[in-house]
Amino acid sequence: MLSKSVIEDVLLEALSTGGDFAEIFVEDKINNSLLMIGGKIEKAVSGRDFGIGIRIFNKTNSVYAYTNNSSRENLLKVAREAALALNGVKGDITLNLMKSEIKSIHNIVLLPRNIEKSKKIDLMKRAYFAAKNYDEVITQVTVRYSDEEQNVLIANTEGLYVEDKRVRTRTAIQTIASRNGEMQSGFYAPGAHMGFEFYDKINIEDYAKEAARIAKTMIYADYCPSGKMPIIIDNGFGGVIFHEACGHGLEATSVAKGTSVFAGKIGEKIASELVTAIDDGTIPNAWGSQNVDDEGTPTQKNILIENGILKGYMVDKLNGRRMGVKSTGSGRRQSYKYAPTSRMTNTYIANGKSTKEEIIANTEYGLYAKYMGGGSVDTSTGDFNFAVMEGYLIKNGKIEKPVRGATLIGNGLEVLKKIDMVGNNLEFGQGMCGSVSGSIPANVGQPTIRVQSMTVGGRKEE
């Protein structure tokens, strides 16, 4: 992607004003996306992202610059401009780049760029018809297909020189149910760090029908009541609760500055002993996985919480310097346009012992959140919110009726302690996570769990 000699020259130029570490990130990415509304392809676009990011550290300060122009002259100019932001004296540097070959743990069989568009469209049509024909209340179905092949080269003045390929594909199905002048929607978007063979491993029609079932259920549902009550959050994308309530607060991005509610709490009991939580970037072909992070550090399995005790944070290089610890392979970024920082990969609550049926049967009154929408958190206070896409009221240990329009709010530190049942049916759901280094693919996961009490924002008084 760039010759070794150019890389070396650029890295050396970057350290010309006293920086003590320099890194270059080259990205060449092929993207493809198709939009189908009402069974017809409305928009088709494909293209190539290409750019180079140069980063310099001087102790714990960082300068980042990026450009699309990869000529030697331009890169040296950009490196020099970035270096000028630091005003020190050039140190003694010897650069010895050693190329390390990655043995990919993510088997890619069918590169999406080699797949004819007609095959991708056939897949979308299958999803469309499965959802549209599910029920007559389904009035619209939108299918978005996308794939990407990201080739990166990362080198730094510690001698790192590595290339990696990330291939991802995802199909998002949005369904609309209409009745009596009202509309409700359902959504499902399976994806993986995999080639087009992903669609042989799953049946897209099952996901499409599920998205249609959600919209249909919600169009017949009543509004959710408000107030504090026990909440059962189902497995899979339900893991977004941990992602928001706790995950972001365990990223070194906020921990290093002491602005996270979880800063300085290693070894302390911060959650119910039923909770063990993990961020694992090494799960083969999982949506949030990568061989190496975007700083070239191999990803790893990081235990965040073990039986309620805080064990570790997710750390990138710069924040590792600030905290005096090593990177945990958590440095990620959307693209060369962003300096990397610590982010989640595949984050989940590990299996417990209860069955989902036991959890429901043991709940006298509460809300069962079968599918979650997205959410957000203020890491300084731990206050979070997230949306329930498909919910049900539980009465006397039984699912009573579907309810719509609920949002759950709470505080991360409090809610972790209130998890009082953990199921044995761990699953993952795919999402896009937005933060300082952009929007990145992140897997969330958990078994079915119960939280003793949380505030439900609904629209109806009981």
């Binding site: 699309n68 990869s70 469209i121």
Partner: protein, 450 residues
């Protein structure tokens, strides 16, 4: 490689492949962004970027492609991919490459003074801002985010039908977030300023706003779940209007994704509400003289005294509805196909001050912040349920801070339940257009708390 030369080469190659109607859109930007923490420049980002997107009509359909490598090596890929993408399209809607409007209103969104502002000036501003915030009140324990950003953009739109347009704009932005603490109670607040007039950037004002608001939230508690009269402060009302702005897109209406379908010339809001889309607004971040299809932009009332008067159109949706494009054919990014978005869209000012509105509430809540706009609201159903904070109002006075609540309702109901409109129009951070609103007094919303 010179941009104009590259464009001509692309058109030449396209013609060789039998293409007639082709268009190139180029976007270049120069940007710096910095973050100050504890008196030091914690992060500095400098960028120079360029992107080119190509589209063409092939077999009657529009195909798109793009590249960030602006040289000869990309030409074949651009043309081949666009042709292949056009072949994939099977929608019956007709798209076209546009020859140009009769005239364009000149819009000045480039401030030469701002162009001279350099990294050092930005650093000085951000350092002063952080220092001021830390010194204003001893309860301020940290300033987790103190950011300054400057961006200059240059776009070129050229097509084979003779259209040849250029636009230059620049903008500066500062965002500050503070943490305050009293005993074990931690609260945060954020404020921002966005403008291409740097003389409006007053760090003292920004620091005072953010610190005062964070401190005012100390001791906040939830309220009893109930239906309450609610005042949405201008910034909150603007955020909510912005999140629901896709309902005005003709694209969504035509695809049955907006409940405004069939509501043209009907009353959809309280008669005191007028919503304007004004691409010529002075100081408007989204001000421009042409949209991404090259259509001249125009001023219009989208909602006039409660009545929906138009949807927002691009060429394709206008053709389908038998009307003229409203000049709202914009792309979310240079890479995207043309879609629809507002320019500077806002609810027109009313005549009440926020204080007057507060005084008129016997028991209610003033909302000063909402969270979860990307997840807690549904543009299709109009339903929303958002984490919120603000102040409890009792007998026309602010009584105490409130947090850990949600406000829930339906946007279409809300539009009809606006009782009073403030005279304090404010714009939210630009997302999909630049959206503004004055403070709004709402008859009632469901509030969930204790």
């Amino acid at each position: 490689m010179d941009k104009r030369v590259l464009i001509n080469r692309i058109f030449e190659e396209g013609r060789k492949k039998g293409l007639k109607d082709m268009e190139v859109f180029i976007q270049e930007s120069n940007d710096f962004k910095l973050r100050v923490f504890k008196g030091e420049v914690d992060e500095l980002n400098i960028s120079k970027e360029e992107g080119l997107s190509f589209r063409c009509i092939y077999d009657g359909k529009m195909g798109y492609s793009y590249t960030e490598k602006l040289d000869e090596t990309s030409i074949d890929m651009l043309i081949n991919e666009a042709v292949e993408n056009a072949s994939a399209v099977d929608s019956e809607d007709v798209e076209e490459i546009f020859a140009g409007s009769k005239s364009y209103t000149e819009v000045d969104s480039f401030n030469t003074k701002l162009e001279n502002l350099n990294v050092k000036d930005g650093i000085e501003f951000a350092k002063s801002l952080e220092k001021e915030a830390l010194e204003l009140d001893k309860r301020v324990i940290s300033v987790p985010h103190c950011i300054f950003n400057k961006q200059s953009m240059h776009t070129i739109l050229v097509n084979t039908k003779g259209l040849n347009l250029e636009d230059k704009s620049n903008i500066a932005y500062s965002y500050v977030n503070v943490m305050v603490k009293e005993n074990d109670d931690v609260k945060t607040s954020s404020k921002y300023i966005i403008s291409n007039d740097f003389s409006k950037f007053d760090y003292k004002v920004l620091a005072k706003q953010v610190v005062d608001e964070a401190v005012s939230m100390l001791g906040a508690e939830s309220v009893k779940s109930d239906a309450y009269p609610v005042i949405l402060r201008n910034d909150v009302a603007a955020d909510i209007l912005g999140a629901f702005s896709p309902i005005f897109s003709a694209e969504n209406v035509q695809k049955n994704l907006s409940l405004l379908k069939g509501k043209l010339n009907k009353k959809i809001a309280s008669e005191i509400i007028t919503i304007v889309d004004n691409p010529f607004m002075k100081g408007g971040i989204a001000s421009c003289s042409f949209d991404n299809e090259g259509v001249a932009t125009k001023y219009k009332k989208v909602v006039d005294r409660g009545v929906l008067t138009t949807y927002l159109h691009n060429i394709k949706t206008a053709k389908k509805d038998g009307v003229q494009s409203t000049g709202n054919g914009f792309k979310p990014s240079f890479k995207s196909p043309v879609s629809i978005s507002p320019t500077n869209m806002y609810i027109e000012n009313g005549d009440k001050s926020l204080d007057e509105m507060i005084r008129s509430v016997k028991r209610g809540i003033l909302i000063i912040d909402v969270k979860g706009l990307h997840s807690g609201l549904n543009t299709v159903s109009g339903d929303f349920s958002l984490a919120a904070s603000g102040y409890e109002i009792i007998d026309g006075r602010i009584n105490r801070p409130v947090n850990q609540i949600t406000i829930a309702g339906n946007f279409y109901d809300l539009l009809n339940n606006v009782l009073e409109i403030g005279n304090d129009l404010k714009f939210a951070l630009p997302m999909n257009g630049f959206i503004g609103s004055p403070s709004l007094k709402i008859k009632e919303l469901s509030v969930a708390g204790m």
